[in-house]
Symmetry: C2
Subunit: 520 residues, 2 copies
């Protein structure tokens, strides 16, 4: 490395270190808002979060920083791998935001923070109209943000592809860019094709399941249990999967999530429903999976400021690996069945291990995404994705969203929300933007692919059944986690599996599992 | 106001507004550290807190800010009352820190944050030696901070008094200044005299109580209860005293506390012990009292940045008013007895209202300050105060503290801790400095004085008995809370009661109450 590169790299890292102070604080404020901040304190706290996020942005907008960052990006061949990845990440952020002033960024940030507050209140009151105005502002801010970008920059960043949606005049250009922000390199066309393929295989299968004669009893799943019992179950489950409580903590929130504060502080949340003990069980395993991904990443990532390269699809692949592939498997049920009976004796009385397994996997078209079964889950995503496209392309007005929501749920799942709370207000995501949801489905598809490699190398069922998550986690660490920050999703999944992305492993898995369960 | 004054005032307020963003965030990080932050994430979070506190300090150290602040301070006669108070507060802070560089402040801040982390770990391990090194640094930093001050400044700030300890060469000069930081205007001599007077009256009284034939049953107070039951009790009590959950939240922490985040966000904490249900009851009433003080302050204080003028003694007077004077009174027990029986049926079975009242007020020399009864409480404070004086004056080494602690507990209360955890490590306070404890006792003395005025104006027992805390809170708001930010403690207590500060109201109260209870 020449001394000029070294000097610029050192300067960049010093600024990143300072920016990380503000960013860490702002993450903590957001976490607090979602877990404990009182209703009337929300707005002020949102303002402070926006202020801190703006300090981060300002630091990276300093001409001196931009120069140094561009210098190391141009000389990235001289850098060691970790620093090179960091330079590339910085350049991507720079290219996306180069026309956004610090004032404009603060404005966006405040819109999102206000939208969160409004969403919380609207959800509580189950009244979409209380959120509509903020949602419109979020939509407009998202569109404005994308339109401020130079399309040429985006082409350079993502590689040339011949998709019509990459043309700025295309109706779906903005939506395509938003999707690419979350899942780098993917186009609207690829996603459309993927979901069409899912529908082709899943719609007929769902019909068969719904008309199957197989009866699965679920009555006991809705017996009343206390919060204290559910807390004991949470403690048990996080210890089973290997979540380290000296480097994390759990609490409760309306919408469960995982928050990375720092390398030794990765928080998760859950929620406790008195008549649905499985809900907190599977949300804690899901969030625990996200947390393991962060807890088990290579030490070097922190030191080189590259801990932010994972896409949401990668992240969801891991959380859903633990929640569904592992967590809803026969071997996992075998492992946790005795403890479940011990902690929830009233609910589990007279319930066999097989009945518990079946209940955990019952297919039931329903209204709430986060509570839905593994099979119908994909439809929840497709519905959101299709509505998002309409919102961003201008095909529907904000006021029409609840109506579209009901229509789509009726169409795909044959159910229809009676209230906004169990409909369009159930998810927090649109308070900060659009294009996030598809990553949940991509996650299912990624993990189905790497599960198929993993099973050739270790005896997954044996490890799970015996509670040996060290073996599982270690395989994940070496094969799935290690390079996630350094590769694009397409490179990453190919690196793990040797194959290009496909939804078929996931669809095959569903078909096999549910054909068995429903005796089709 | 001349236009130059206006210009300077506006500038000062704009800077204060920005500083408040950082300060709010740093308070939130500290709160998080004490409630949920995982063990291994503590140190990094402490660093960030120190960084944010340093940003506040830097903003106030800008020459432009100092000039503007000095200008409005010199022209304070032109300002309206609220702004004048703000100018005076700012000048006091300035005078105390004018020789402290931003680097030095960061160093102090980091020492305190590290000390908190070490205290937490040491307390957990019950091993004073793990905290000793940090404690020494805190002591040295406190001494250094005071020695950096100009004694002339301090004389100007506090008014001339002829106390020997105000002479910088006096052995107790540093300790005296530290005390004055918490309780403005009070000298070591006044405090010594006050505590000697307390000892004169309380030591013989304690002897009488201990040899009284009166038997108070307390067996039921240690029956096992669940956390869920205690949470229900917490919910009930905060609703009784009028703590507003839309402007606050409660959670748990090792050491219960109240944190003011913003005008609509005042948090309290408690802790749940399985075999001591009264502990969480009285800690929540205590912290709830602190919170009411903040929740019911005049709106104008926020707008004029004068919400920081309350001394700790004032604050403790309020929390202890609710916890002890009101909370441990016969009328309060009458109010809460039925609900206590309902929530803790196993513990309260066969316990009469009178027995419950007696148990809540039993005098039992013990080791833990926060769990101690109202009567022996003062001895816990005297012990800490006397040891603090020795620490700061250099009469004892850090390593000797646990020994001194045991000796003093033996001397005053006839009990001696077997472990550091139930001895010197029980309180967090020394991790940030010295001189805080005496304010707890001052608080008892203040509230005894204003209780004696209050009872002439409203029927306290009737209000409490009927759960009419609106009447109580309103009286407190008008008479106790309103001017607290604007006056020194001596001015404030005189403003409320028309009398100069005295410990006798408190001592009379104790004598009367406990002579009755123990049939002396």
């Amino acid at each position: 490395m020449n001394s000029e590169t070294k000097k610029n790299l050192d300067f960049v890292q010093a600024v990143l270190k300072e920016a990380e102070m503000y960013a860490h604080a702002s993450r903590l404020l957001t976490y607090d808002q979602e877990t404990i901040c009182p209703e009337k304190g929300m707005e002020e706290q949102g303002e402070i979060t926006a202020f801190l996020q703006n300090q981060v942005f300002k630091l990276q907008k300093q001409p001196k920083f931009e120069e140094a960052m561009l210098y190391i990006y141009e000389h990235r061949d001289e850098l060691e791998e970790f620093d090179r990845v960091c330079a590339e990440q910085l350049y991507r952020d720079y290219a996306k935001t180069r026309n956004i002033t610090t004032e404009k960024q603060l404005e966006f940030s405040r819109i999102m923070n206000k939208a969160f507050v409004d969403w919380s209140a609207a959800r509580k009151a189950s009244d979409f109209s209380m959120f509509a105005d903020s949602l419109k502002k979020v939509r407009d801010a998202n569109i404005e943000m994308i339109k401020l970008r130079d399309p040429k920059d985006m082409e350079d960043l993502n590689g040339k592809k011949n998709a019509p949606s990459l043309d700025p005049d295309n109706k779906y250009y903005v939506m395509g860019q938003l999707i690419g922000d979350y899942e780098r390199g993917i186009t609207i066309e690829e996603l459309d094709e993927c979901f069409e393929h899912c529908k082709e295989r899943l719609v007929p299968l769902l019909k068969k399941i719904m008309s199957s004669k197989k009866k699965i009893r679920t009555d006991f799943m809705h017996k009343e249990v206390t919060e204290e019992q559910q807390r004991r179950m949470t403690d048990y489950l996080i210890s089973v999967i290997g979540y380290d409580l000296t480097r994390g903590a759990y609490s409760t929130s309306e919408h469960p999530f995982t928050d990375w504060m720092g390398k030794n502080d990765i928080r998760i949340t859950t929620h406790y429903y008195p008549t649905d003990f499985a809900a907190s069980m599977y949300s804690i395993i899901h969030e625990g999976g996200h947390a393991l991904f962060e807890m088990l990443q290579p030490e070097e990532n922190y030191d080189h400021f590259i801990e932010g390269g994972k896409t949401l699809g990668m992240h969801e692949s891991v959380s859903r690996m633990y929640e569904n592939r592992l967590g809803r498997s026969k071997s996992f049920i075998k492992l946790i069945y005795p403890k479940t009976c011990e902690i929830f004796p009233e609910a589990m009385e007279g319930v066999s291990e097989e009945e518990f397994y079946e209940a955990i996997n019952v297919v039931e078209p329903s209204l709430i995404r986060t509570e839905s079964d593994e099979f119908t889950y994909t439809f929840h995503i497709i519905i959101r994705y299709e509505i998002e496209k309409e919102i961003i392309s201008g095909d529907i007005d904000i006021a029409d969203i609840p109506r579209r929501w009901r229509e789509k749920y009726e169409e795909y799942l044959g159910v229809s929300p009676k209230t906004d709370r169990e409909g369009v207000l159930q998810d927090v995501h649109w308070a900060s933007g659009f294009g996030y949801f598809p990553t949940y489905s991509m996650g299912n598809m990624y993990n189905a692919m790497y599960y198929n490699r993993m099973k050739n190398e270790i005896d997954i069922d044996k490890a799970v059944e015996s509670g040996d998550f060290a073996t599982i986690n270690n395989w994940m660490k070496e094969n799935v986690f290690k390079k996630a920050d350094r590769l694009s999703p397409a490179e990453w999944i190919k690196d793990i599996t040797g194959r290009d992305f496909t939804a078929d492993d996931f669809l095959d898995y569903l078909e096999e599992k549910y054909s068995g369960l429903y005796e089709l």
